[in-house]
Symmetry: C2
Subunit: 70 residues, 2 copies
DNA sequence: AAATAATGTGAAATATTTATAACTTTATGG
DNA sequence: CCATAAAGTTATAAATATTTCACATTATTT
């Protein structure tokens, strides 16, 4: 399961730094880094909080593909 | 943060037992029980897999309220 | 009413996410 | 170029989700 996300694109479009987005959703900057780079499968709450910041659905922001992680 | 979910309503409408839904999404029956009863904040992957079974969005299926859990 | 199926509970073990912190690398502005 | 900001990495610890298992309760069928 590989995670594809558009967080970085939306974040830059909105003009936020990673640390600003982190603060908006009550997470650490490193967590945002890891998510933008598809490191892991976040909690539903965090995913929804981020989607809400950008006014998009979770489905628009995240997609799982079936490839087993190498 | 309290989690409200419509999993049970959709599951019954679709005619699945808890163990059948669990198998469809590769989880344990007890996990479904706990989710239906709002015990915890699932992973995004699990939430999306369940939503896909019912053909609805994650937002339609799950909602977080701000009340701190008692 | 008895038997069985379905749902619920809770504890212990395991897996995974998230936080924390310290450091590196890359971009950006003076 | 130099200074600083922003982004990325890695390791460890802490928190939380999920599995596993064993049993309890509630519903359903005969």
């Amino acid at each position: 399961m590989a995670l594809i996300t558009k967080i970085k694109a939306y974040r830059e479009k909105a003009g936020y730094k990673q640390n600003e987005l982190a603060e908006l959703v009550g997470a650490r900057r490193e967590t945002i880094v890891h998510l933008e780079n598809g490191r892991y499968n976040p909690s539903l709450k965090l995913a929804m909080d981020i989607a809400k910041v950008f006014g998009v659905t979770v489905e628009e922001l995240f997609e799982f593909t079936d490839e087993p992680e190498k």
